[in-house]
């Protein structure tokens, strides 16, 4: 019992070396390997708290915040697991799946799967002017006018944010999120 307590304290970075964030990262890994899309799902969940939409984006104060996945769902059940039972500003979070862009109706965060990379520019063109936060891990996403791009480097996830694109779509991204990301502007990276 005592041994376990000391171990968990150590893992939390209260005892022993390492920066707190590294130690906590290890503690998550202690419970088995963290899958790429499990982690990305948690990132997407966090985006719900770090972005703001126009007042008209929600039909009423209780309307859910919709996270959409366009194309082949790479998350399995990770995204559903990450948002289950969670609320943002008293709104429930729901996950919806879309096969094609015309299915996307009321949606706040749209994750565009790599299966759509061939038509990415077309998709982003069609989304232009809609109050939706676009997210993807497709290559060159932010450069093409997507808002948040996941990059994987040395098995870690980084974010690249195209702040201009978000501004153009009237999606406000909090400075907290911007601070932790690499900021790019359309056209020049």
């Amino acid at each position: 019992m005592w041994a376990r307590l000391i171990l968990s304290l150590a893992l939390l970075g209260l005892v022993g070396g390492g920066t707190p964030s590294e130690s906590r990262a290890q503690s998550a890994a202690q419970q088995g390997p963290v899958r790429e899309y499990q982690l990305k799902a948690v990132f997407v969940f966090h985006f719900t708290q770090f972005a703001d939409w126009l007042p008209g984006a929600f039909a009423d104060p209780q309307a859910p915040l919709v996270i959409g996945i366009l194309g082949d769902n790479p998350f399995g059940s990770y995204l559903d697991d990450a948002v289950r039972g969670e609320q943002v500003n008293n709104r429930p979070i729901v996950v919806q799946h879309y096969r094609k862009l015309s299915d996307v109706k009321a949606c706040h965060i749209l994750f565009i799967a790599q299966s759509e990379s061939d038509h990415m520019r077309q998709i982003l063109d069609d989304l232009r002017g809609r109050n939706i936060l676009t997210v993807s891990d497709a290559d060159g996403f932010a450069a093409q006018g997507g808002m948040i791009q996941f990059l994987t480097e040395k098995n870690k996830i980084r974010l690249r944010i195209n702040a201009d694109a978000a501004k153009a779509a009237d999606v406000t991204i909090s400075s907290k999120l911007l601070r932790s990301a690499e900021i790019v502007t359309s056209g020049r990276e």
Binding site: P20, S21, E22, R24, A25, S27, A28, A29, Q31, G32, P33, V34, R35, E36, Y37, Q38, L39, V42, F43, F45, H46, D72, P74, D81, A82, R99, L101, S102, S115, D118, R121, Q122, D125, D126, G140, A143, Q144, G145, T152, E153, K154, N155, K156, I157, R158, L159, K176, L177, R179, S180, V184, S186, G187, E189
Partner: protein, 639 residues
């Protein structure tokens, strides 16, 4: 007794329930731990990558270029060889309306009937080898892939390592089609124009449950004739009808099955007057043990038939091919890959007096095994790949093909690589079994040996800024036992004056530069420059001087530039421009030409107009016939 079973049953259920609960519990606490972290903390979590081969293109220790689906679609290509023009490390020349000379690093030989003698390339469509054992080259006219089905085309110039199959002497072209999961719904396209007469393709994809996906397609292509050098009909118009299917079934995370097949039927006018048909089926099973380990077993049967009607020379080939490979990690640093392949190619030739293959029926056997070890000498920095392939073929027996490759990742954005490899081209029916009074009295050589190369390569890849990548590859190839035509003066078994022998050797060297740059969010360019030179010399006094010219007619300089631009209002404007230096032996002057595409793509619809060979009225590329300037319009629906 009954009670015992019930008790065991309940206990079993309890165990399963506890297990499921425990698993779900672990998952939830891990999720909770992740969710309570800040952004910075999340960025420190290491993940296991889902992709089987985490190897990035930038880290590969070979001169590999990839043509993507978008590159093809935006180029205005309407056939597979046209799409291959987009790889700047290939030498592609259109011979007539339907035939092509395609090679990497030289050796596009002079036209044989209606094909080039290029015989040093391994070409595969979804793992099915498509070069013919008749002369070790590819009949490009019958490779009618629906271009929209292509996921990507990987083009490796230089010997393929132990990984690839036979014939990968100067390069490998690997055409990979999309999984059926990616082609769901309806796709229909139709085109008409001045050289491309008309073309139509329909594809439909659907699924049964969540694990079985399939597609079926049918395609028709009608092409007008090309021109004679100074105008006039070259009478090489052609028609090709093809249909096929692909099924992808993933009953569990660990098992994936693919089953696919195609059948085609076609005819070609002109002096060569050809009737063709072919059928193939392929099955592949992959069992995944872990991220680092899997087994793949693949079997295919391929039948091709070709009737050169004018001479009533006919050739039918049936190929049976079984391939297996196993990948696993040994310790922290070693990634092993080993496997084996058995191939039987049975052919039957209907000979004519001027051109015979003797014996007319033969079964060629190919047995091969390979092993490769990728060693992380300095993890994430220096990788050494050692491998060898042992191959046994009907004509020349056992051949050993080792290779050593090194990739040194200087920074995340820079890689230096080098390689030394040996590869052989096994003799073909043409080399060994030919008796051709019609070709000036030329006979094959039953003792023909494999042609051999030792290739030295050095390359550098850099990503100077995020959206620009540049790749440079240099090589020197030393060939021995190259094919020659020797003067034997009737002493050959068939008492013809000339006979094939292995009496040439030589050196080739070159530079391949390629780049891909997203200049603005709406404008991307890609392209490359290739420099090539080769020198062959006879090793016997009997060699006919023309031998060197027969083996290759290759340009010294080649330039490619593809521009892909999105304009406002869903409009697209794309241009492919290429420069090809003059061909030395069978003289074709240097030329520059462009294809341009204007497209409009919105939701389910795509309209485009493509102009080709825009610089001149007609353009000779290889041999006598000239390819006229042309235009076509195309409409596509995706639902």
């Amino acid at each position: 007794m009954g009670l015992l079973i019930r008790a065991l049953g309940i206990a079993g259920l309890a165990i399963i329930a506890t297990d499921a609960f425990a698993q779900h519990g672990a998952q939830t606490t891990q999720d909770d731990a992740l969710k309570s972290m800040s952004m910075e903390e999340l960025m420190n979590v290491e993940v296991t990558l889902v992709s089987k081969r985490p190897e990035r293109l930038a880290d590969a220790a070979s001169a590999i270029q990839v043509i993507t689906q978008e590159d093809i679609r935006r180029s205005g290509a309407s056939t597979l060889p046209e799409a291959l023009r987009l790889a700047s490390n290939l030498m592609v020349a259109q011979f007539n309306a339907h035939d092509w000379a395609i090679t990497a690093r030289g050796f596009n030989g002079v036209p044989l009937s209606n094909n080039s003698l290029a015989d040093k390339l391994l070409v595969m469509i979804d793992g099915r080898s498509i070069y013919t054992p008749l002369f070790a080259g590819v009949f490009w006219d019958v490779q009618g892939v629906v271009l929209d089905d292509i996921d990507r085309i990987e083009v490796v110039s230089g010997p393929g390592g132990a990984l690839w199959g036979a014939n990968a002497v100067n390069g490998v072209i690997n055409i990979v089609t999309k999984s059926a999961r990616k082609t769901q719904g309806l796709y229909a396209t139709a085109a008409a124009g001045t050289l491309l007469e008309d073309m139509a393709a329909v594809r439909y994809g659907s699924h049964v449950g969540d694990s079985l996906f399939y597609r079926v397609y049918a395609q028709r292509y009608d092409g007008y004739s090309s021109n004679l050098p100074h105008g006039g009909d070259a009478k090489d118009d052609w028609r090709m009808t093809q249909s096929g299917f692909r099924m992808d079934y993933q009953p569990s995370d660990a098992n994936a099955l693919t089953f696919q097949g195609d059948a085609y039927l076609g005819s070609e006018g002109g002096p060569a007057g050809v009737l063709v048909n072919g059928q193939n089926v392929l099955g592949r099973w992959t069992h995944t043990y872990s991220v680092e380990s899997d087994v793949t077993v693949q079997l295919y049967i391929d039948h091709t038939y070709r009737n050169f009607t004018i001479q009533s020379l006919r050739d039918a080939v049936t190929t049976y091919d079984l391939d297996a490979q196993h990948r696993f990690a040994l310790g922290e640093r070693h990634r092993l890959l080993w496997g084996g392949n058995i191939r039987f190619a049975r052919d039957a030739v209907n000979n004519v007096p001027t051109f015979l293959i003797v014996p007319p029926r033969r079964t060629l056997q190919l047995f091969s095994g390979f092993v490769q070890d990728e060693i992380g000498v300095v993890p994430d920095r220096v990788n050494v790949t050692l491998g060898t392939k042992l191959e046994h073929n009907t004509y020349s027996g056992l051949e050993i093909q080792p290779s050593a490759r090194l990739a040194w990742t200087l920074t995340q954005r820079q890689t230096v690589w080098m390689a030394i490899s040996r590869a052989v081209r096994a003799p073909s029916r043409f080399d060994a079994d030919l008796v051709a009074p019609g070709l000036g009295g030329l006979a094959g050589n039953p003792d023909f040996a494999a042609e051999k190369v030792v290739a030295y390569e050095l390359g550098y890849r850099v990503q100077p800024v995020d959206n620009v990548s540049v790749s440079l590859a240099t090589f020197t190839n030393r060939y021995t036992d190259l094919r020659s035509i020797d003067v034997v003066g009737g002493s050959s078994p068939s008492s013809l004056p000339f006979q094939f022998a292995n009496d040439q050797r030589g050196t080739s060297s070159g530079v391949e530069l390629s780049t891909n740059a997203q200049l603005t969010p709406r404008w991307r360019i890609r392209g490359g420059y290739t420099y090539f030179e080769k020198r062959l010399r006879p090793t016997s006094a009997n060699v006919l001087p023309v031998s060197a010219d027969v083996e290759g007619n290759d340009p010294r300089n080649q330039l490619l530039l593809q521009s892909i631009m999105n304009l406002p209002g869903h409009t697209q404007f794309d241009v492919v421009t290429r420069y090809v230096d003059s061909l030395p032996n069978y003289p074709v002057p240097q030329y520059v030409t462009s294809d341009a595409r204007l497209g409009w793509e919105h939701r389910a619809f795509e309209f485009s107009v493509v102009g080709r060979n825009l610089w001149r009225r007609r353009q000779q590329e290889f041999g006598i016939t000239a390819i006229p300037r042309s235009v076509y319009g195309k409409i596509t629906v995706r639902r």
